[in-house]
C-alpha cells in the first residue's frame, strides 16, 4: 500500500461517484431499468475505493511515512499507536477523507437496506448521495490532498497537538461525522421526492429511520465533544457556545424537528412540504457548519487549517448543493399537494408545536452564531455573543418544549381531548410539583428552577406514558408484563429519548449551581469548598513518554472522613512547547469533584501552586441523558416496523391507516 495507491483509489471513488450521480438520474427519468439498477453497484464500488484510500492513509500513518506531508505535519515516531491511527482524522485533509468515506457508507447502506424502495426513488436517492460525494471527493483531490508528498522526507514528524491525544477526542469525529453525514440520506430522499413531485406516507416512513439513526449519532457526537472539553480543557465548563459547538447543535435541533415532523407525514400525510424543507435545511446546516468552520470565517477555538482559498471552493460547493436544492424546492414544492387540516389539540398538533419551538431555538442559536461575523462585515464592529445571550434566549423556549413534550405522545391522533389525558397525569403532576418545591429550595435563579421542574415533568410523563400503555396496576402485573413485551419498541424508544432529555436538563439545571475556587496554596494547606476540605498533600514531578508531568496530590475530606485522593497533573510536552492539564475527577454519580493543578509560583524553598477546585452537582447526568437519548433512538430503530416493514407505496392517499 502506498500513498499513490490511496490517491488513485480516491480518484477512482470520485469517478464512481460521478457515474453514480449521472447514470441513475438519466435512468430514472427515462424509466430505464438497466441504468437505474447500476446505482447500488456504483455506490458499493465507491465505498470500496474510498475504504482502500482510507486504509492507505492509515497505513502511511502507522508506518511513519513522513514523506507524506499530512503525516509529517501531524504525527511523530513517539506518538502512541492509537493516536497514529486516530490522528488520521484529527486534521483537515484526513477528516475530509473520513467525511467522504462515511458519505460513501451511507450510500452503500441505502443500497443494501433500500431493496424494497421503488426503483426510481432508490436510483434518485443514490444519485443525490453520489453527487454530494463527488463534490467533496473533488474538493479532497484538488485542494486538500491527504496524500501529498514532500521530498526529501525528514526523519521525524512534527507531532500532534497534545490536547488531541485523548481517547475521547479520538472517537469524537467519526461519531459526530456519522451524525452530520447521516442527514445526507433524508436530504437525498427529499431531493428525490421533489424531483418525483410526490411525498406521501410511505416516503415519511422511509425517511424516518435514517433521520433517527443520524440523530442518535449526532447526539452521541455532541455529548462526547462536550465531555471532552469538560475533562480535558480543565475549565470546569462543558459547553462554551463556541461557533464549532453551535455548528453541531444547529443541525441537531433541526434534525430533532425533522425526526418528529416525519412522523406526521407518515401517520397523517400532513406537514409534507415542511418536512422536505427540514430535511434540506438539516443537511445544509451540517454542511455549512463543518465547512465554514474550516474557512476561518467563524472565530473559534477549534482552529483547523484555516484557509480562505479552500473556503472559496467550499462555498462554491455549498452554493451548488444548498442553493441547488433550495432552488429545486422553490420550483417543485408549490405543486406538492398539501395535507389535511388538523386540530391543535391532537398528537400532530403538538408535534407542530414541537417543531415551532425547536426551530425557534435553532434560529436563536443560528442568529447568535452568525451575528458577530455579520456585524463585523457590515459595520466593522467587533462584538462577541456569549453565554448570557444564549441562556436567556434558549431556555425560555426550551421550557414550554419540555411542558408539551411530556404529554404529546399520550394524545391520540386527529382530534383529541385534553382532559382525559391530563387526568392520567396526576401522579406526574404531583411529582413535578414536588420537584418544583425541591428546586425552589435548593436552586437559585428562575431559569434553573423552571428547567429542573420541566425536566422532572418530562421524565415523569414519559414513565406515565409507558405505564399507561401496559396498563400498569390496572391489570395484573403479569399481564402488564405481557403487554410490555408486545409494545412496539418505538414506543419505548420515544419514551426513553424523552426521559433522556429530562435527565440532561436536570444535569444542566444543577450545573448552574456549580461552585469553584481558584487558590494559590503551599503544600499542606487546606481549602474548603462546597462542604469539602481540599488539602494539597504533595506535589511531585514525573517523566512521561513524550512529556514531563507535575503531579499534585489533593486529599478531599468531608467532616474529617477521606472522600478521595485526586492526582491532577500538568504535562509539559517538549516537542510542541505546549502544556496540557490532566484534570482529576471524582464522581459518585450525583456530583463531580474536579481538581486541576496549574502553575508553580514562588521560589523553590517556598513554592506555591495554583489549584482550580470545582464542585459540579449532577454533572455526569448531562452526558448520561444524551446517552439515554441516543439509546432511545437505537431502540426505536430496532423496531421491526422501522426496519423491515417498509410499506409498499399506497395506491391512493390516505390508505395508510392512522394509528
Amino acid at each position: 500500500m502506498s500513498p499513490e495507491l490511496g490517491h488513485f483509489a480516491l480518484a477512482l471513488a470520485c469517478a464512481f461517484a460521478f457515474a453514480q450521480t449521472i447514470l441513475p438520474l438519466i435512468g430514472a427519468q427515462r424509466r430505464d431499468r438497466r441504468l437505474m439498477t447500476m446505482a447500488p453497484g456504483l455506490a458499493l464500488g465507491q465505498v470500496i475505493a474510498l475504504g482502500a484510500s482510507f486504509l492507505c492513509l492509515i497505513d502511511a500513518a502507522i508506518s511513519d511515512d513522513f514523506s507524506v506531508a499530512n503525516i509529517l505535519e501531524n504525527s511523530a515516531v513517539t506518538k502512541p499507536l492509537l493516536y497514529k491511527i486516530t490522528g488520521v482524522w484529527g486534521n483537515h485533509e484526513g477528516s475530509i477523507l473520513l467525511w467522504a468515506l462515511i458519505l460513501g457508507l451511507c450510500g452503500a447502506a441505502v443500497a443494501a437496506f433500500g431493496r424494497n424502495l421503488p426503483a426510481a426513488l432508490r436510483a434518485r436517492v443514490l444519485a443525490v448521495l453520489g453527487g454530494v460525494a463527488a463534490g467533496f471527493e473533488l474538493f479532497c483531490l484538488t485542494t486538500s490532498d491527504p496524500f501529498d508528498r514532500v521530498w526529501p522526507a525528514p526523519l521525524d514528524g512534527q507531532g500532534m497537538n497534545p490536547l488531541l491525544q485523548d481517547p475521547g477526542l479520538a472517537f469524537h469525529p467519526p461519531i459526530l461525522y456519522t451524525g452530520y453525514v447521516g442527514f445526507a440520506v433524508p436530504f437525498a430522499f427529499a431531493i428525490a421526492a421533489l424531483i418525483e413531485g410526490r411525498v406521501d406516507a410511505a416516503w415519511g416512513r422511509w425517511v424516518r429511520p435514517w433521520a433517527v439513526a443520524a440523530w442518535a449519532f449526532l447526539t452521541c457526537g455532541i455529548a462526547l465533544g462536550s465531555w471532552w472539553s469538560y475533562y480535558v480543557l480543565g475549565w470546569g465548563g462543558y459547553w462554551f457556545w463556541d461557533p464549532v459547538e453551535n455548528a453541531s447543535l444547529i443541525p441537531w435541533l433541526s434534525g430533532t424537528a425533522l425526526m418528529h415532523s416525519a412522523i406526521v407525514v407518515e401517520k397523517r400525510e400532513a406537514l409534507k412540504i415542511w418536512t422536505v424543507l427540514l430535511a434540506i435545511a438539516t443537511f445544509s446546516f451540517s454542511l455549512s457548519g463543518t465547512f465554514l468552520v474550516r474557512s476561518g470565517i467563524l472565530n473559534s477555538v477549534h482552529a483547523f487549517a484555516n484557509d480562505p482559498a479552500r473556503g472559496i471552493f467550499i462555498l462554491g460547493l455549498l452554493g451548488l448543493v444548498i442553493g441547488g436544492s433550495l432552488a429545486l424546492f422553490a420550483w417543485r414544492a408549490p405543486s406538492l399537494t398539501a395535507g389535511g387540516l388538523f386540530s391543535p389539540v391532537s398528537r400532530e398538533g403538538l408535534l407542530v408545536l414541537n417543531n415551532i419551538l425547536l426551530c425557534s431555538i435553532c434560529a436563536v442559536v443560528l442568529t447568535g452564531t452568525m451575528y458577530p461575523p455579520f456585524m463585523s462585515l457590515l459595520f466593522g464592529k467587533t462584538i462577541s455573543v456569549g453565554k448570557p445571550f444564549f441562556d436567556a434566549a434558549t431556555i425560555p423556549l426550551a421550557i414550554p418544549l419540555f411542558a408539551f413534550m411530556g404529554f404529546g405522545p399520550m394524545l391520540p391522533w386527529k382530534r383529541a381531548q385534553m382532559w382525559p389525558v391530563l387526568r392520567r397525569l396526576w401522579i406526574a403532576a404531583l411529582a413535578t410539583l414536588l420537584a418544583f418545591a425541591v428546586a425552589t429550595w435548593s436552586l437559585s435563579g428562575v431559569l434553573p428552577i423552571l428547567c429542573a421542574t420541566g425536566a422532572v415533568w418530562v421524565i415523569a410523563t414519559s414513565a406515565t406514558d409507558i405505564a399507561n400503555r401496559v396498563a400498569l396496576f390496572r391489570i395484573p402485573l403479569g399481564q402488564s408484563f405481557n403487554r410490555a413485551r408486545f409494545l412496539p419498541r418505538a414506543a419505548f424508544g420515544a419514551a426513553l429519548a424523552h426521559a433522556g432529555v429530562g435527565v440532561s436538563a436536570l444535569g444542566l439545571a444543577a450545573m448552574s449551581q456549580a461552585q469553584h475556587k481558584i487558590v494559590e496554596v503551599p503544600v499542606g494547606q487546606t481549602e474548603s469548598l462546597a462542604g469539602y476540605d481540599w488539602t494539597l498533600a504533595g506535589v511531585k514531578t514525573e517523566p512521561g513518554p513524550n512529556y514531563t508531568a507535575l503531579v499534585g496530590t489533593i486529599e478531599v475530606r468531608r467532616n474529617g472522613h477521606l472522600v478521595t485522593v485526586m492526582h491532577p497533573s500538568k504535562r509539559s510536552f517538549n516537542a510542541q512547547n505546549q502544556t496540557t492539564t490532566e484534570v482529576s475527577i471524582h464522581t459518585n454519580g450525583f456530583s463531580d469533584l474536579y481538581g486541576v493543578i496549574g502553575d508553580k509560583h514562588g521560589d523553590d524553598a517556598h513554592p506555591t501552586y495554583v489549584l482550580r477546585l470545582h464542585y459540579n452537582p449532577l454533572a455526569p447526568w448531562m452526558w448520561l441523558g444524551a446517552l439515554i437519548m441516543a439509546f432511545g433512538g437505537a431502540l426505536s430503530l430496532s423496531d421491526r416496523r422501522m426496519r423491515v416493514g417498509a410499506p409498499r407505496r399506497a395506491p391512493a392517499p390516505n390508505a395508510v391507516a392512522a394509528e
Binding site: 470565517i297 462555498l315 442553493g323 422553490a330 414544492a333 398539501a338 463585523s376 494559590e520 509560583h601
Partner: protein, 190 residues
C-alpha cells in the same frame, strides 16, 4: 398547511423564501472570504486600541469603594492616568497589588473590575488595599472587549486628552513591564 391554503402564486413566493435567505447568507460569506483574501476583513481581529489611538467609547458603573467613569472623564484628564483592569479571582492581580499601591503616589490609577461580582471586588480591595482613585465595574466584560483586553491584569497609560500612550498585558510587578511603563510615563511628562 391546509388544503385551502394560500393561492399557488403566494405559495410560490413562500417556497422561494428559503432560497432567497440562503442567497443572502451565501453572498455575505462570499464577501467575507474575498475580504479575508484581500486582507480587508479579519474576523479574528480584536480591535485592540493600539497605542497612539484615543480611548474607546465606554462607561463603567460605580464599584464600591470608588466612583465609575467613562471615556468623557478620560478625555478631560490633565495629568496621565493609568487604567488597570483587575479581578478578585485573578491571582496575578493579587501579586500585582503591592506594586500598584506603591505606584499610586506617583500616578493616579483608575481601576476596572473585570467580570467580577461587585461584592467580591469590594471585599478584595478591602483585604489587598485599594490603589485606585476611581473604580468602575465591568461585570459583563463588554468594556474589556472595547479596550481589547485579552486577560487580567492589563494596564493602559492614558495621556492628557485621552490618548493611549502605553499598553501592558501583564502584571506590573514584572520589572520589564514596570520599566516600560516608567519610560512611557517619562515621555508623557516631557
Amino acid at each position: 398547511m391546509s388544503a385551502e391554503g394560500p393561492s399557488l402564486a403566494r405559495r410560490r413566493v413562500m417556497m422561494a423564501l428559503p432560497l432567497a435567505g440562503a442567497g443572502v447568507v451565501g453572498a455575505a460569506f462570499w464577501g467575507m472570504l474575498s475580504g479575508m483574501q484581500k486582507g480587508s476583513f479579519n474576523p479574528h481581529d480584536i480591535n485592540a486600541p493600539s497605542t497612539g489611538r484615543p480611548v474607546p467609547d465606554f462607561a463603567v458603573t460605580d464599584q464600591t469603594p470608588g466612583v465609575g467613569f467613562s471615556s468623557h472623564d478620560l478625555q478631560a484628564i490633565t495629568t496621565p492616568v493609568l487604567i488597570n483592569f483587575f479581578a478578585s479571582w485573578c491571582i496575578p492581580c493579587i501579586a500585582e497589588m503591592p506594586q500598584l499601591l506603591k505606584l499610586r503616589d506617583r500616578l493616579p490609577i483608575w481601576g476596572i473590575a473585570y467580570k467580577d461580582k461587585p461584592d467580591n471586588a469590594a471585599g478584595f480591595l478591602r483585604h489587598a488595599g485599594n490603589p485606585y482613585a476611581r473604580i468602575g465595574s465591568d461585570f459583563e466584560g463588554r468594556v474589556a472587549i472595547d479596550w481589547g483586553v485579552s486577560g487580567v491584569p492589563e494596564s493602559f497609560l492614558i495621556a492628557p486628552g485621552g490618548k493611549i500612550v502605553w499598553h501592558g498585558a501583564a502584571g506590573l510587578n514584572n520589572d520589564e513591564v514596570q520599566n516600560a511603563l516608567d519610560a512611557a510615563l517619562g515621555q508623557t511628562k516631557r
